[in-house]
């Protein structure tokens, strides 16, 4: 089945894939998702700790912050494998996005503490920078001698009930600040809503929420490109996870249609079904090719070519995973419409990841606007 193909001279990628496969033996993704959903939780801390032990949470964080210092390619291979295994803890946001923000933040005690906690799994560090409509969060920061006071709302926050710390992008007079806000701070209200794939997204409300001056981790987030870099890395991570989920859903559907007998024959012998399966496979192939292209552009042509390639990869992988999983449900027939059958979980997961950080229609428009900009 299609996968991301990269040269692997020292076997790192194969090792990452093996470690996810072994992990999935211990923690069955679908079962964990159902358990988390049943318990109404936003994060399984046992699984999260095990992911930390596997060394996955600090994969891209630099070594001087305690991370592994690996690159985007390793992250893509890891996330593709997690997508395949349906391991749905929000690593893209809590590790990649938060990690990128911390890596680019100003050196200091708070940054070191958070990075260490993020990598070890002892601190869940959730980024807060968007509104529920995907636009920038409407959180205003008033800076005074005693620190920073935050007011306003933000949305689309993952694992908000489990989070120990929020990394909040707040608007001050002189630009966007990155502020570390401990969960449970006075003046901070969290309200979670369920997502389709058995997790949650929360709205956060800041009512004169006060934090100390040394909790400001970075200034001028937009001018420095820090936020853009975090978005880009996370988009590509999500693309890889979508590619993995799509490829696995295809594989499961091929197996199912080979076994399911109607009219005395496996339904996979019927041409109408074969051609649908081929189109699903084609979509998965194109996703993997788009991701490899993005990884190469990031390495060889950072800047506009890389930015275009990442937008294309997320759009392609999203479209593909949505298309594959929808067709998969259909090809499973009534079984596909049951909650008991795992294929539906793949579709739901694809819907979540596809909508995160830009759906394909939005990303395509961004691509065209960027490409055509003089």
């Amino acid at each position: 089945m299609p996968e991301i193909i990269l040269e692997d001279p020292d076997g790192t990628f194969a090792m990452l894939r093996d470690s996810v496969a072994a992990f999935a033996q211990r923690f069955d993704g679908a079962r964990a998702l159902r358990a988390r959903r049943g318990a109404g939780k936003d994060l399984d801390r046992d699984i999260w700790s095990a992911m930390a032990e596997a060394g996955w949470l600090g994969l891209m964080l630099p070594e001087d912050l305690g991370g592994t210092g690996l690159g985007m390619s390793e992250q893509a291979i890891l996330s593709e494998a997690l997508g395949r295994a349906l391991i749905t803890e929000p690593l893209a946001q809590l590790s990649v996005f938060s990690g990128a923000l911390l890596a680019g933040a100003e050196p200091g005690e708070e940054r070191s503490r958070l990075a260490e906690g993020l990598i070890s799994g002892s601190l869940v560090v959730s980024p807060v920078w968007q509104n529920t409509d995907g636009g920038p969060a409407a959180v205003a920061a008033t800076v005074d001698a005693g620190g920073v006071t935050l007011s306003g709302t933000a949305g689309l926050v993952v694992a908000a009930a489990s989070a120990d710390v929020f990394l909040v992008a707040a608007r001050a007079n002189d630009g966007l600040l990155l502020v570390s806000v401990p969960a449970g701070s006075a003046g901070l209200t969290v309200s979670e809503r369920p997502t389709v794939d058995g997790a949650t997204l929360a709205e956060l409300r800041f009512d004169s929420c006060h934090v100390a001056a040394d909790q400001v981790l970075a200034r001028g987030l937009l001018g420095s490109g820090l936020l853009d870099d975090a978005i880009q890395a996370t988009q590509l991570t999500l693309a890889a996870e979508l590619a993995g989920a799509g490829s696995k859903a295809l594989e499961a559907t091929v197996d199912y249609t080979k076994e399911r007998v109607q009219f005395g024959k496996p339904i996979a012998s019927f041409q109408a079904i074969q051609h649908r399966l081929v189109d699903m496979w084609s979509a998965a192939e194109f996703s993997c090719a788009a991701i490899v292209n993005a990884l190469e552009r990031l390495a060889d042509e950072p800047g506009k070519p890389a930015a275009l390639a990442v937008l294309a990869a997320k759009a392609r992988a999203g479209d593909a995973a949505i298309d594959i999983t929808r067709k998969a449900i259909h090809l499973y027939g009534a079984m596909g419409f049951t909650d008991e059958c795992d294929i539906g979980l793949y579709m739901k997961r694809a819907v979540n990841l596809n909508a995160t950080l830009g759906n394909p229609a939005q990303l395509r428009l961004q691509f065209v606007a960027l490409e055509r900009a003089a």
């Binding site: 193909i5 091929v254 249609t257 080979k258 024959k265 496996p266 996979a268 012998s269 041409q271 074969q274 051609h275 399966l277 081929v278 189109d279 496979w281 084609s282 192939e285 194109f286 993997c288 090719a289 788009a290 490899v292 292209n293 275009l308 294309a312 759009a315 392609r316 229609a361 395509r364 428009l365 691509f367 065209v368 490409e371 055509r372």
Partner: protein, 387 residues
Amino acid sequence: MAKQQDWNSLSDAEFRQIFRTWVDENCPMHLRNMRKQRPVFDEVAEWYHALAEKGWLSPVWPQEYGGMGLNAAKHIIYVEEWARLGCPRIPDHGIGLVGPLLIEFGTEAQKAHYLPRILSGQDVWCQGYSEPGAGSDLASLRTAAVRDGDSFIVNGQKIWTTLAHCAKWILLLTRTSRDEKVKQKGITVLLVDLTSPGVTVRPIENLRQEADFCEVFFENVRVPAENLVGEVDKGWNLAKAVLGHERIFLGAPSRPEVALSRLEQLAEARGAFQDPAFVARYARLRLDLYDLGSAFERFARQLRDNGTLGADVSVLKIFCSELYQKITEETLDIAGEEARFLDDLPAGNGHVDAMNLYLDSRALAIFGGSNEIQRTILAKAVLGLPS
């Protein structure tokens, strides 16, 4: 013909530079970006002879036979630069099909006789495969060859024979015996002189009202037995073996690339980029083309690394041909009332051949194995789906 150097020892960039520079200087400007996909020999003879003289007519034949001996990586560059510079396609069945077949399966006498004549442009070849009753189901072909002393007597009909009206020779798949269970058995490859008595070539106008393919009739045509390639009844695998990595080029992004640039030109001229609905549709086409480039590179890399390609490469042809159609359809859509015109549409300082491309784009999804055939092949070969 100039002595060949070892092209494969150059870096890709060096080879690209050398090839591009020469082609740009030597391909006549009036032949660039021709409307016709398949010009006849006389229309492009200048270019054919320039390549022949340089020794660059045949990219992949081994150098001992007068080819450039390019490996797959260099061959891809050859094709890419050719397309990038808008060079016309030449009648290439001799180079792409007959040469490789003879080099692999031909006798020494056949190689010595036919190969130099292909390289010089003296013999133009065409490919006699499809028949009225054997298109997608090629193995059910019926054109009969019966042994008669030192000859075969051929009777039957071929169709969709590209450029037969400007060819002197045809590579012919014939039926020499019939196996009730396996249609692929009993097929024999013959080299047939189209000027032989009993051969009639009748051009067919295509959808663009150009004659680029033909019907070819054989009535008691006598073919010398020495024109047999390989063994009698065992021609099917020969015909399949020479397809090789050339299949990747059916999915190369060049055609949809040209079409998208025309769409952009027309859209700019008509202000369509001010219309958000158009921009959304355009964005999908633009990204499809961009991703086709990434997918092409995925297979090109496989070819460079392993020297071969699997059946999965035909996914490019499916995607490419369907994208080409979508782009040309969109171009007609934004032409509005003017979509009816046969001639080119004024657009800014130039013209856009909207109808020309629209009609042309119907073909690629059909030839070289229709997209439905390709999907069925992929279902079996890649996904292992049962019959």
